[in-house]
């Protein structure tokens, strides 16, 4: 046995050489997190990330392929090779559609992150003013994401706390009525009115009080609560925020003037920075032009270009009809392609466009103001005032003397032209109940009442026994 002893000793030595405890080096585990002010800021930044990170995300292509392509503004180009996208674009989709579930999934991912911030930031000790601001930013974003969800899917599960366990009772949540969801949205956004009116240069891009009010105006408008819609829009227009229209419509999409006076809340992009470029531009751009890497996946809907008169300054900002190769200098005349979000400093790599996508901008608020006032009490002076600011900036004549109906139709048309390809068209069509008629008009004869709501993703129905499908799907 003496001889065995050294062996056993060696075994014992060996035992201490490895450990089964895991201490990750290139990431932190959740337990190690939420200790400091920086952690809290980072937790809120991670919610913003969900707006537009690279790939197909709500304010970076997904609302085009998964929403506006169904409308009369956008259609899939030759570069759109996804069968689900193409079928959704002609309303032949079903509950398994890829974009149908991506929109759902990405919104709930964002909502969970907002819930984490709202749940956990209060217990971290740091500056109370900043703490309050961060929680309100999270609530603003939660409101925005729920607002998108409830408009697209109708009743949705209202989850307001972080998912911490995998127990069935915690993860299976039934749908909450649309009214209840809107109540929560209004509550979150009303609180968010307490956000700062503006930020110093280092924090530009975060949600502001003006953004909360503008979004509330849109919520009320969607709910046909004209009074409150007009009120909130007015607070934005007359409030201490300094919002105004750019004199030049092109500046709305100009990289140099982003986060300017007209921008209330935008999805922030920056090229060549850790995949934070706006890839919408690549998809609008034509193929076959040397030095421009387009893949022509999005093309304007039939007749959209023709809506614009020659003197409408928005036309040649929104579309491009001839293009000069940056390498050969050769100019080619092309069919109208969308031109918003192009960053001419990177024509060869348009995925790295630094152009922001506006989520809320001042002309939108002016048009909402005009629409709400008109619905409430006809075309008032204030309604004309707001509306004509948008028209005149576009190079069009100021209007007057319209009937309520004429005023409404005119605002609708200008909303479409002003906001084309800004992920607004589908929301406007369903909000104003004009979706079926508008789509029938362009040959999507299969458009029907059921299309006012998306189908609930089949995946969600398969994996949540409490989930029920929308009517007609």
């Amino acid at each position: 046995m003496k001889k065995i002893l050294p062996i056993l000793a060696l075994l014992a030595v060996g035992t201490s050489c490895t450990t089964l405890d895991e201490t990750p080096k290139s990431f932190v585990s959740e337990e190690q997190f939420f200790q400091t002010q920086a952690d809290a800021v980072a937790a809120v930044n991670a919610i913003y990330y969900c707006l537009n990170y690279s790939g197909q995300t709500p304010y970076n292509v997904l609302f085009s392929t998964g929403m506006d392509m169904m409308s009369d503004d956008v259609q899939p180009g030759p570069g759109a090779t996804n069968a689900d996208v193409r079928s959704q674009a002609i309303l032949s989709h079903s509950s398994t559609g890829l974009r149908i579930y991506q929109i759902w999934q990405q919104h709930y991912t964002a909502i969970n992150r907002a819930n984490i911030a709202v749940d956990r930031i209060p217990s971290v000790a740091f500056d109370e003013t900043l703490k309050k601001r961060l929680i309100l930013e999270a609530k603003f974003l939660r409101g925005l994401f729920y607002f998108n969800l409830v408009r697209l899917y109708g009743d949705v599960p209202l989850v307001l706390h972080q998912t911490k366990s995998l127990n069935p009772e915690d993860i299976y949540v039934a749908r909450t009525s649309t009214d209840e969801v809107y109540k929560q949205i209004v509550s979150d956004l009303t609180e968010a009115e307490g956000l700062p009116t503006s930020y110093s240069a280092t924090d530009v891009g975060r949600a502001t009080a003006g953004a909360a009010k503008s979004l509330l105006a849109k919520v009320y408008l969607t709910r046909s609560d004209w009074d409150n819609a007009a009120k909130k829009a007015e607070e934005v227009i007359n409030g201490p925020y300094g919002y105004d229209l750019f004199a030049n419509y092109a500046d709305v999409f100009n990289v140099a003037t982003k986060n300017g006076k007209e921008h209330i809340f935008s999805a922030q992009f920056k090229g060549n920075t850790n995949s934070h470029g706006n890839s919408q531009a690549l998809r609008e751009a034509p193929t076959g032009i040397t030095g421009v890497n387009g893949n022509y996946a999005e093309q304007p809907g039939n007749g959209v270009y023709q809506l614009f008169s020659g003197k409408d300054k928005r036309r040649d900002v929104t579309f491009i009809t001839s293009i000069t190769s940056p390498t050969t200098g050769k100019t080619t005349v092309i069919d109208p392609h969308f031109h918003k979000y192009w960053d001419n400093s990177v024509p060869g790599n348009l995925t790295e466009s630094s152009a922001n996508v506006p989520i809320l901008r001042f002309s939108d608020v002016l048009l909402m103001h005009a629409e709400a006032l008109n619905e409430k009490s006809g075309p008032t002076t204030d309604a004309y005032k707001s509306y004509n600011r948008v028209r005149v900036r576009a190079g069009l004549d100021a209007l007057s003397g319209l009937s309520k109906e004429q005023f409404r139709d005119s605002v609708y048309l200008d909303r479409r032209k002003e906001l084309v390809f800004e992920y607004s068209r589908w929301f406007d069509l369903i909000r104003t109940k004009r979706m079926v008629s508008a789509l029938q008009k362009i040959g999507k004869t299969n458009a029907s009442e059921k299309h006012y709501l998306y189908p609930i993703p089949q995946y969600e129905i398969d994996n949540n026994p409490k989930m029920k499908q929308n009517p007609g799907w």
């Binding site: 035992t15 290139s26 030759p78 079903s94 891009g205 920056k270 060549n272 994996n463």
Partner: protein, 1019 residues
């Protein structure tokens, strides 16, 4: 080890004997002597056999052969004389000698029942084995292969090998008795000279290059391998516990043998060609298709009649496949030097292997060396080491390039007017010029691997041996990629350079005590206990830059790029601690019992379940050693085996049980800001996936083992699957890794070996057959299926089921399309029609997809025939599988008929009002693939995998040349394949080793066929 000490004793005896004999001969020198001289060689390898004993029948005269196999016996007898020749491991022979010198061939003991099989933590006589273990036939390793795992194809029952791509050096996918896991890996564990290596190809992937992964096992030289044993049932694999569930492949490298110094050169050179190309439309045919598609959209034709006529001229248009494929050389050169004396044995080898790919500018190259050495210091103490180092370098075909060369329209010229490569397709789909991509894009992986272990063995008491070993496996990979500005892919970056490194460094310490004891004639005991620990750390860094003024630097001066890309790095490690034990007990040499157990502690699992326990038990009965069987002399061997046991699978990413705060950045203040959020929910209860396996087998030898059969049946059920269980998205997550679900595999395996002819003409056959049936039994609460297009995992079905639309012909002019179920509101006459499975009048993904087959074969077979006649040897291997389906994505693309991309010749039969085809739809500008049964093809095939003809110089010549052996050979691989599959090759997997979505052929680098000639010289 016992074996070698026995050999040593024998050798000493022999030497003594030799001296004695010499003395006798000298004293007898007076009479009329005959000198009987000659040589003894191995009938198969033609190598000389040293130390074989020769005796003259009817006398006491005898001798032993020298190192070169020669012998001499001096006798007073006249010819003819009869010599008796014997050697361990060979059949005893009596040879009548009529003329001199004589060459005597010995054949290895036919079924090699005395063979020793390497099992986990020890060896065992083949006749005593209780589990299901297969040994790779020696000739399988002689195929020209870049990595040894490819040698398993078609020669071992129960092992399915799929070459996932034809890229030289690319990974293979191996399934032993089917796949157990859905999300975890199903690749076997490799144990190389005692060092367990989990072959994760990601270890050799720094994340910079695109295209198929390089096989991490290709860093090892196949020529260094002496033997490969495959452990299949739980009795054999349970000693590897948590890593045994997918089977274990034990590799033993060549060791030196005492007294047999030999120096061998083995080399071959050959050429390879692509197995087949896909017939595509030529320029004129494609132009007509393009015009049809545009017409369908109401657009003007793209080509005028004059242009179409001129496209029909010979030599007009580009055959992209022809431009890309080439005849490519393959070569290997191997030098080895082995030998030793009774105290020290060594084997030293060096290898150079280079395989150029059949696609332009792709290759794989390896330099390697090996030193295996052991020394006996005292009768009780022994030290040894196995050490290998290698460098491999591969230029990989970039991802998508095969797709581009199929999809690039034939009307696009290879070169533009200035003589440079055409940048890209001028049509609506932006495809880069694939020939430029192949030739200009740098996409290389360079790996260095140092792999070695050292051990000391000490005999503590009679039969009790302690062994301590320590080993290190250092795999260092550097990847380089550069997209020059002249390439379409690089133009948008104005040159993009990336470099990545990956260090995967692991070490292992094993400490075992083994005990062997015979208690009287009736009881044999063989036991081992041990403690082992293994750990590995992987570190990865990636840096890239773009916007270069010049392409001259490639990846070598990233600082010169004016746009810096975000660098990245990460690190992870894992550890495993294990206790193991096994007892083999044999009663009366007939009844064998094995009990083994292993306890594994793994860092990868949840903190509440770090440790798992894996027991097994087995019994076998050598019926042929029973008295009653001796009445049946035809039966030379009969053994029954049964076993049961539990093994595990832990192949998940480290830290999977933790809730990781992942990095999600955003732009605030026009500057990047950091964000963090959990990317999953923590699961402290995460534990092993465990597989219970039951096996029953028979080994039967007939007619002196000229016919030998091994038949096994098994049933495996895997519980607590490490499954990414889908979560409702409302949780904020899409799935969580949980122990949910259950899957089963059951099957039979047959090996049949026959000696058809014996004597001057030798003919042996080896046939293997295996059939495995896989079924998902459960996917967790409430989950009935997991869809990952085009495949589906569904309870009650096999993994890898294709879940797609069923086509129903083409809509014709006579159909009232609007009233029929259709997929798209745009469908009209000439559109593809689908089956409305649920009869609701519409075609939807949710309701109208069905399972139309499975990527798993119903059975796989292999047949090897070996012939020896005089100095010629011929062997050929047929290998195939039956009943599997392949999703042909290439076909789906090439039959879109958009006029945006190239098209296959099947589009010539497209629907037109005057050609009412019911199989091919009309030309239409609809670029989205709809996955349907049209593209799910039969992937059954039978292939002449290898054929090899060798000629060894006769010994009369070799002795003149003073060499032991010279063999010339020619061989061919993949020379013929019989299949109905219309793609490049049915042996394919775009998704690599994936179990969820196997059998997808999406622009995979096609396999090649090879013809080569080689030479082996042994001095």
């Amino acid at each position: 080890m016992l074996k070698s000490s026995q050999m040593r004793k024998k050798m000493k005896e022999r030497i003594r004997y030799l001296l004695l004999l010499s003395a006798v001969f000298l004293t007898a020198a007076a009479g009329a002597q005959t000198k009987l001289n000659g040589k003894v060689i191995d009938s198969r390898t033609r190598l000389p056999i040293a130390y074989a004993s020769i005796s003259l029948k009817g006398s006491t005269n005898g001798s032993v052969t020298k190192e070169d196999g020669s012998f001499e016996i001096v006798t007073y007898k006249a010819l003819p004389a009869t010599l008796i020749v014997q050697n361990v491991g060979y059949e005893r022979r009596e040879v009548e000698v009529r003329e001199l010198p004589v060459t005597i061939e010995l054949t290895e003991t036919s079924q090699a029942l005395q063979e020793v099989v390497v099992i986990g933590y020890g060896t065992q006589k083949k006749s005593d084995i209780t589990g299901s273990i297969s040994t790779l036939p020696a000739q399988a390793l002689k195929q020209p292969i870049s990595s040894f795992d490819r040698a398993l194809q078609g020669v071992v029952a129960g092992v399915q090998v799929t070459s996932v791509a034809g890229q030289p050096g690319a990974a293979v996918s191996i399934r032993i008795r089917g796949g157990n896991s859905i999300n975890g890996s199903n690749e076997p564990l490799y144990v190389i000279d005692g060092f367990p290596v989990y072959n994760s190809n990601s270890d050799a992937d720094a994340g910079v290059t695109t295209g198929p992964n390089i096989n991490a096992l290709s860093t090892l030289n196949p020529a260094d391998i002496e033997s490969i044993d495959i452990l299949k049932d739980a009795s054999a694999t349970a000693i590897y516990g948590s890593r045994g569930a997918n089977g274990v492949v034990i590799i033993t490298t060549k060791k030196g043998k005492a007294g047999q110094h030999s120096f061998t050169y083995d080399g071959y050179y050959g050429v390879q060609d692509v197995v087949r190309t896909i017939p595509l439309l030529n320029a004129q045919q494609w132009a007509l298709l393009k015009n049809d598609a545009r017409l369908d959209s109401g657009k003007q034709p793209a080509f005028t009649q004059t242009q179409i006529d001129s496209l029909g001229q010979p030599g007009v248009g580009t055959d992209w496949q022809r431009a890309a494929f080439r005849t490519a050389p393959i070569q290997s050169h191997n030098l080895s030097f082995t030998g030793g004396d009774d105290k020290t044995r060594f084997a030293v080898s060096g290898n150079y292997f280079k395989q150029d790919g059949v696609l332009a500018n792709t290759d794989f190259e390896r330099y390697s060396f090996r030193i295996n050495m052991d020394r006996t210091f005292t009768s009780k103490f022994k030290l040894g080491t196995n050490l290998t180092g290698s460098k491999t370098k591969a230029q990989v075909a970039p991802a998508g390039v095969v797709g581009n060369l199929l999809q690039m329209p034939p009307t696009v010229p290879l070169y533009d007017a200035t003589g440079s490569y055409t940048l890209r397709s001028i049509y609506d789909t932006p495809l880069g010029n694939p020939i430029a991509t192949l030739n200009r894009q740098l996409n290389e992986t360079v790996s260095y691997r140092g792999f070695g272990n050292a051990y000391g063995e000490y005999q503590l008491a009679e039969g009790l041996t302690a062994r301590i070993s320590a080993g290190i496996d250092a795999l260092v990979t550097k990847q380089n990629r550069y997209l020059p500005s002249t390439l379409y892919e690089g133009a948008s970056y104005n040159g993009l350079g990336s470099i990545g490194t990956k260090f995967a460094i692991g070490w292992l310490n094993e400490n075992t005590l083994s005990y062997r004891k015979s208690l009287g004639a009736n009881h044999q005991l063989d036991a081992v206990v041990g403690y082992t620990q293994q750990t590995s750390t992987t570190e990865n860094t990636v840096a890239s830059a773009s916007n270069f003024v010049t392409d001259a630097f490639q990846h070598n001066n990233l600082g010169a790029g004016t746009t810096l890309q975000t660098p990245s790095s990460n690190a992870f490690s894992w550890a495993l601690q294990s206790f193991l034990g096994r007892v083999n007990y044999t009663f009366r040499n007939k009844y064998h019992f094995t009990v083994s157990a292993r306890a594994d502690g793994s860092s990868r699992l949840g903190k509440n379940h770090k440790w798992g326990y894996f027991p097994s038990a087995a019994f076998s009965w050598n019926v042929n050693r029973e008295e009653f069987i001796k009445a049946l002399p035809q039966i030379s061997n009969l053994k029954f085996r049964v076993s049961a046991g539990v093994t595990g699978n832990q192949e998940i990413t480290p830290y999977s049980s933790l809730a990781q705060e992942s990095y999600y950045s955003y732009i605030i203040g026009n500057t990047l800001v950091a964000g963090y959020a959990p990317s999953g929910v923590a699961n402290p209860d995460l534990k092993w996936e465990s597989t219970s396996q039951y096996d029953a087998g028979i080994d039967l030898g007939l007619l002196k083992n000229r016919i030998s059969i091994t038949l096994d049946a098994y049933y495996k059920v895997t519980r607590d699957l490490l499954l990414n269980v889908p979560l409702p998205y409302t949780t904020g997550y899409s799935s969580a890794l949980q122990n949910f679900g259950k899957a089963e595999n059951k099957g039979i395996e047959l090996s049949l070996n026959t000696v058809n002819f014996e004597g001057k003409f030798n003919w042996t056959s080896a046939f293997v057959f295996s059939a495995n049936r896989n079924k998902v039994l459960s996917l967790g609460p409430g989950v009935t299926s997991i869809i990952s297009d085009p495949s589906l995992a569904r309870v009650g079905e096999a993994l890898g089921s294709f879940y797609v639309y069923k086509t129903n012909g083409i809509f014709q002019l006579t159909d009232d399309v609007a009233s029929l179920p259709r997929l798209s509101a745009k469908d009209k006459a000439g559109s593809q029609r689908y089956v409305d499975v649920n009869g609701d009048g519409t075609i939807t993904q949710a309701n109208d997809r069905v399972i139309v087959g499975n990527a798993q074969p119903k059975f796989i077979v292999g047949l090897t025939n070996t012939f020896n006649y005089k100095n010629f040897d011929l062997t050929f291997l047929f290998q195939g599988q039956y009943g599997n389906k392949v999703y042909n994505v290439n076909k789906a693309n090439l039959e879109l008929g958009t006029g945006y991309i190239g098209a296959s010749t099947t589009m010539l039969d497209r629907w037109t009002p005057t050609n009412p085809s019911n199989t091919i739809h009309r030309a239409i500008e609809e670029p989205a693939i709809v996955i349907s049964d049209r593209f799910i093809e039969d992937g059954s095939y039978l292939r002449l995998k290898n054929i090899s003809l060798g000629y060894s110089l006769p010994s009369s010549l070799t002795s003149l040349l003073k060499v032991k052996q010279v063999r010339f050979y020619v061989s061919g691989q993949n020379l013929a394949t019989w299949t109905n599959y219309t793609g490049y090759d049915p042996e394919v997997s775009s998704n690599g080793q994936s179990s969820l979505t196997p059998g997808v052929d999406n622009a995979v680098y096609p396999n090649s066929k090879t013809v080569l000639g080689g030479l082996t010289v042994t001095f």
